[in-house]
């Protein structure tokens, strides 16, 4: 089908032609089977999210009645104001905590990963192999295993109930270093660094003004993945933060849920669950092309 491409300057036209050719080559039966299977799997992946979306719009208290799959009255705004009213608006405090922990943690991790990854990709030094080996090993050890010893260490140095106990482990990302190294090796040509040196620029200036912009797609990926990872990390904040005004939203919601609908209505947990996942879904949708490129770089090498 590549023969139909006459002008390389029109890639979209070429792709459309290829697509049409692919369609002609397949039978209606095979595309029917493929489509059916894909629709079944998509129903599985979207079912709980659809239920959540529908439930949040139902009038308060009716979240668990009815089929759960279709709208039934409208109570979205009432639900949100009840969420805000519960325990003096602590829910929004939790959201803010989550955004701060994840934002600061991911930003720090991205910056450190960029520098360490660039160092590993572009310089020769003694101990380089050992450092990279340690980073790789750390990627492979279950992160949750560090949590209990960290909790014990933090209690010995008095860091319990201190946001630093959540932030410090968050800004170290071995996977980020690995990804930054792979990407720096591919995307930052040695000649450009050499040219910067000949112009008399210092190593850090070369990194900041030349290498960093070139590594940007990988850095967005590292930021996003670290953001999600910190948001996902439940055990560490649950152990080190006893004060509920310091907790992230995940720990807060599980605390509400464990109250069995006695202290906090179960409907409120449903509403809070939906609100708490909105920022992450928006981030993923907005940054699609970055995480896809990043996952490919991390997976193939």
């Amino acid at each position: 089908m590549s023969t139909t491409v006459t002008r390389p300057a029109a890639p979209s036209k070429a792709r459309r032609t290829a697509k049409a050719a692919a369609r002609r080559e397949t039978t209606a039966a095979s595309s029917g089977v493929v489509l059916t299977l894909l629709l079944i799997s998509t129903a599985y992946f979207l079912f709980p999210l659809w239920w959540l979306l529908v439930s949040v719009t139902k009038p308060f208290g009716r979240q668990f009645s009815g089929s759960g799959l279709w709208f039934d009255g409208f109570g979205l705004f009432d639900n949100l104001s009840r969420l805000t009213a519960q325990s003096d608006g602590i829910f929004w405090r939790w959201m803010l905590n989550s955004v701060l922990y994840c934002g600061i943690g991911a930003l720090g991790a991205t910056l450190m990963s960029a520098m360490a990854g660039y160092l590993l990709a572009k310089y020769e030094f003694r101990g380089k192999g050992a450092l990279f080996g340690a980073v790789l090993a750390a990627v492979l050890v279950p992160k949750i295993l560090f949590t209990l010893p960290l909790y014990l260490m933090f209690s010995e140095v008095g860091l319990i109930n201190n946001p630093l106990a959540v932030l410090l482990p968050s800004i170290v990302s071995p996977f980020g270093v690995y990804l930054a190294r792979v990407f720096a090796a591919q995307a930052v040509p040695g000649e450009v660094i050499e040219a910067g040196r000949l112009d008399g620029a210092g190593e850090f200036r070369i990194f900041r003004t030349i290498a960093l912009p070139m590594m940007l797609p990988a850095l967005v990926t590292i930021f996003l993945f670290q953001f999600v990872e910190i948001w996902n990390n439940y055990l560490l904040p649950a152990m080190v933060l006893g004060d509920d005004r310091l907790q992230p939203v995940t720990v807060g919601l599980v605390g509400w849920n464990a109250a069995h609908g006695v202290a906090v209505p179960a409907s409120l947990v449903v509403v809070g669950s939906l609100v708490s996942v909105v920022p992450l879904i928006v981030a993923f949708l907005a940054l699609q092309r970055f995480w896809r490129a990043g996952m490919t770089a991390g997976a193939v090498k």
């Binding site: 668990f64 759960g68 310089y123 010893p149 050499e194 996902n232 996952m295």
Partner: protein, 320 residues
């Protein structure tokens, strides 16, 4: 870029001198400063947050706190390297937790990766439409934090109002999500839901790297789509499958969020020692830090050995 710097390395063989020695010395100093500037912050925090906890846990697991029978004297910390490990290997709850997670991994990981591979092949198929939509729809659950996903599914499962059982009611089927025999698979379903799309994207990316000519040639030879998938595409994504399998095995060992969220509504099916991490955490809650540390060490070693064995086994196939 590496050549100028390796010239400054004292271990490097002497090169034909193109530069005066003064410049070489300056570069050496520069390298050390650069090294510290770029790598210093990461190495310092990496040591504090990754290496120190391992050392701490390992050392801590070798000690035992001894209290006198009446509790009149202060407890003493004693070096007794085998005590905690002997206790762990005689602890039925901990061993049951290890076995449970082992069973979980053996069933859930192949199931999830099979699903991910199937999805990737379907979306990659020539007859697929709306590839972007299907790719995103299956990946969306990954964007939901583990705890939130478990909360949402706990609403799906909860006995009085389960929307799934509501749907199945007319058929006369009710799934006992929280019975002792099925609660592990209820957890497995949440994990599968969360991670299939993530693994699918990795496998799908590998599929995109197969040269078009190879697929075209196979087609010319009259190979069917299924045959091409079996003989060309699946072998081509083998590396990605091994990678996702290792990460999934590691993920199974960390099983904590989902069972913990289901615990309060499970009616006792999810015990406080349901998984090894939960078991270690309940040892911490009981104040037995040294025993918790020993459990962590055992789990870490088990995971390391399993990943290594899995790598070895799958690599042997490559050489043959």
């Amino acid at each position: 870029m590496t050549t100028t710097l390796s010239a400054a390395d004292p271990a490097a063989p002497p090169r034909q001198e193109a530069r005066p020695p003064r410049r070489r010395r300056r570069e050496t100093a520069l390298t050390k400063r650069t090294l510290l500037l770029f790598g210093g912050p990461f190495v310092a925090l990496f040591a504090a947050m990754y290496i120190a906890p391992i050392v701490y846990a390992t050392v801590s697991s070798l000690y035992v706190v001894k209290r006198s029978g009446l509790g009149l004297t202060a407890p003493t910390k004693e070096f007794d390297p085998l005590h905690n490990f002997a206790q762990a290997f005689g602890d039925h709850d901990f061993l049951a937790a290890l076995g449970r997670v082992g069973l979980f991994a053996v069933v859930q990981v192949p199931l999830m990766l099979g699903l991910a591979l199937g999805l990737a092949l379907l979306i990659d198929a020539k007859s697929a439409r709306g590839k972007g939509f299907f790719r995103l729809a299956s990946f969306l659950p990954y964007a939901i934090p583990g705890v939130s996903a478990a909360l949402v599914w706990s609403f799906m499962y909860s006995s009085g109002s389960s929307p799934i059982n509501n749907l199945l009611e007319p058929l006369g089927i009710q799934i006992p999500f929280f019975s002792g025999g099925s609660v592990l698979w209820s957890v497995a379903n949440i994990v599968t839901w969360s991670w299939t799309g993530y693994n699918m994207i990795i496998i799908y990316s590998a599929l995109q790297l197969i040269p078009g000519e190879v697929l075209e040639a196979a087609k010319m030879d009259g190979a069917s789509a299924l045959r091409i998938a079996w003989n060309i595409k699946i072998p081509a994504v083998r590396g990605s499958l091994v990678l996702t399998a290792v990460f999934s095995i590691i993920g199974s060992a960390q099983l904590y969020n989902e069972p913990t969220v289901l615990q309060p509504i499970s009616g006792g099916s999810v015990s406080s020692t349901f998984t090894p991490i939960m078991s270690a955490q309940s040892a911490v809650a009981a104040g037995n830090y040294h025993y918790a540390a020993a459990q962590s060490v055992i789990l870490a070693v088990a995971v390391g050995v399993l990943s290594f064995v899995f790598f070895k086994l799958t690599n042997r196939g490559d050489k043959a």
